[in-house]
Symmetry: C2
Subunit: 342 residues, 2 copies
């Protein structure tokens, strides 16, 4: 692995000169020298030592992709199609911007913080952060960072976030159910914070608009233990009582619930209608194909990185909190109940 210094020696010139031609500042160097240096570069396959470069320039060239994830939830977090797609989109965009992606996946925010600090990352994409996490990391790390899918405007100073119209999306799809004649509609999620909480609110908005009163037993809280959904699914089956529609906070749950119900002999959408949120592989592959709220994850990742790169370059970033539009992807999991006004 040849170094600038070595090449300078070989050519009996200075490191500055070699460095100059490496950086294309050929205006400062005589053509003859340029020629000689370039030959050496070729011959020895020169590759800069990024570590040394970064040390000298006090930057790192690294964009950290930090995801707080309890390994429990889906066994191996990134297995989740959302995380996978997001990771791919981020990496691709980061690379296009001339940076590199370092992955920090952990359920321990302090571990993420110290790793990120050590590497002196130039910027951060953050996912899965709760209020305390967001607060702590912005206090400790003074670097540009953009959150994805968070709702921390009231907690985090200088907050920049790229998310989706979660509330509106869930409002729309609930309204869609209502317009199709449904009145007894349950909402299913495994938590009541962040994105899922917004989706819950959207669902409630639609109910209220239709003068349907929401009571706590409309909300079915899933409590999966690890990757094992069996108990949770059992629970759903017991609780869906005489609902005619199910709004699931994610396609993941919608698909599993649908399969489970089908296995128990429930006809979908004849016996019960189901809708999801995300429009990922789950909703696409399941049958009947799931009517769901479409969000563009790749776009989300790209946009987040774009914004981050702008912040790093001290450019204007426009809107600090973005909610990407979503739309209903109408498929076959909703029954049109007779006698409606639609």
């Amino acid at each position: 692995m040849i170094t600038i210094k070595k090449m300078a020696e070989l050519l009996e010139t200075s490191t500055t000169t070699v460095s100059n031609v490496i950086h294309g500042k050929t205006g400062e160097v005589s053509p003859a020298m340029v020629e000689k240096v370039q030959q050496l570069l070729e011959e020895y396959d020169y590759v800069p030592n990024i570590n040394a470069r970064n040390l000298a320039k006090n930057k790192s060239g690294i964009i950290g992709l930090a995801m707080k994830a309890c390994r429990d939830k889906y066994e191996n977090f990134i297995k989740d199609p959302f995380a996978g797609e997001l990771t791919g989109a981020v990496e691709s965009c980061v690379r296009a911007g001339g940076y590199f992606t370092m992955l920090y996946i952990s359920d321990d925010i302090t571990e993420i913080i110290s790793s990120v600090a050590s590497w002196n990352v130039d910027g951060l994409i953050l996912h899965g952060m709760q209020a305390e996490d967001g607060l702590m990391i912005t206090q400790k790390i003074k670097k540009p960072m953009v959150f994805i899918d968070c709702y921390l405007e009231e907690t985090v100073p200088q907050y920049v976030n790229v998310g989706s119209e979660d509330r509106i999306g869930c409002y729309k799809i609930t309204k869609y159910l209502i317009e199709n004649g449904h009145e007894r509609i349950a909402f299913i999620a495994d938590n009541r914070v962040g994105v899922d909480f917004e989706r819950l609110k959207g669902y409630q908005d639609a109910l209220k608009e239709a003068d349907i009163v929401f009571t706590e037993d409309h909300f079915i809280m899933l409590e999966p233990n690890g990757a094992d959904l069996t108990k949770a699914l059992d629970d759903v089956y017991k609780r869906i009582g005489d609902f005619t529609g199910l709004v699931c906070a994610s396609d993941y749950y919608a698909a599993h619930i649908m399969n489970d119900l089908k296995d128990r002999g429930v006809k979908i959408p004849d016996d019960i209608s189901i809708v999801g949120f995300d429009d990922n592989v789950y909703s696409q592959i399941i049958r009947p194909a799931l009517t769901t709220v479409h969000q563009d994850v790749t776009e989300k990742g790209s946009l987040a990185v774009d914004k981050l790169l702008q912040m790093i370059g001290h450019q204007e970033i426009g809107e600090r909190v973005i909610r990407l539009p979503v739309h209903i992807e109408e498929r076959n999991s909703v029954k049109k109940i007779k006698g409606t006004h639609v």
Copy 2:
């Protein structure tokens, strides 16, 4: 961001002393000094500059995860559940080993090579490499590396690989079809190299064993353009003629084909039986649930990293080429044809 030097000044001592207590070499330092240094460490939230450390030690602490992927294939490579799960497993194992994961996803091997060289990574996990890629990267990069799911024993010197029993798996599942009375069985894939080629061979092994002659029209080559499978699916439908069984090289294709056929009114498994390979979300979510060959992707990633870490530590690594065992996951996509000897 405080540095060792600064702290040494503040304490009117040497960098060596500070460095020593940072590294827990308290035997070399007086208790009083240890105490004082540790207070400073706390007070100023000292975090080492990894760049500087790496430069001095001529290492990087980075494990590169390099995946050669044409963005075309699934639109955004890592969206593929295999890639996502592998990434998660690798990251987790790398972190546990005290290293960090840097992602290099590109369809251009030379880009991967120069990035990896620049960063002076301590080791590499490689996926999706063809013969020329493997040869080129081992020539240029003199670092420990382990391949995943490659078949390059004849090309790459010092080859270390973690894969699955692709051939045996496909042999087993084809045999399973045969034992269930199938004789006219097609094989479907989108290429004829590497993993899929081995799976094809396994399929052929089973045919031969049953004295069924394989001819070229048993092999249905899929040619998806981008994420759009429509044409390819059309093609499959036209070509499945009077086959009674379909061996797909992946669950991904099996699931899409199954849905497509169902949409066209074909009954599965009554009209035609389908099996896949991977046992991922596709086979689990589809109905009828897909009988497939199970492989453990998380195990694959972990094992690869373990081996890599051993190589970095100059330990004995045992087998250089590993084929993880696979087994048939029997579900409901295969019809037992009457009159068989099973």
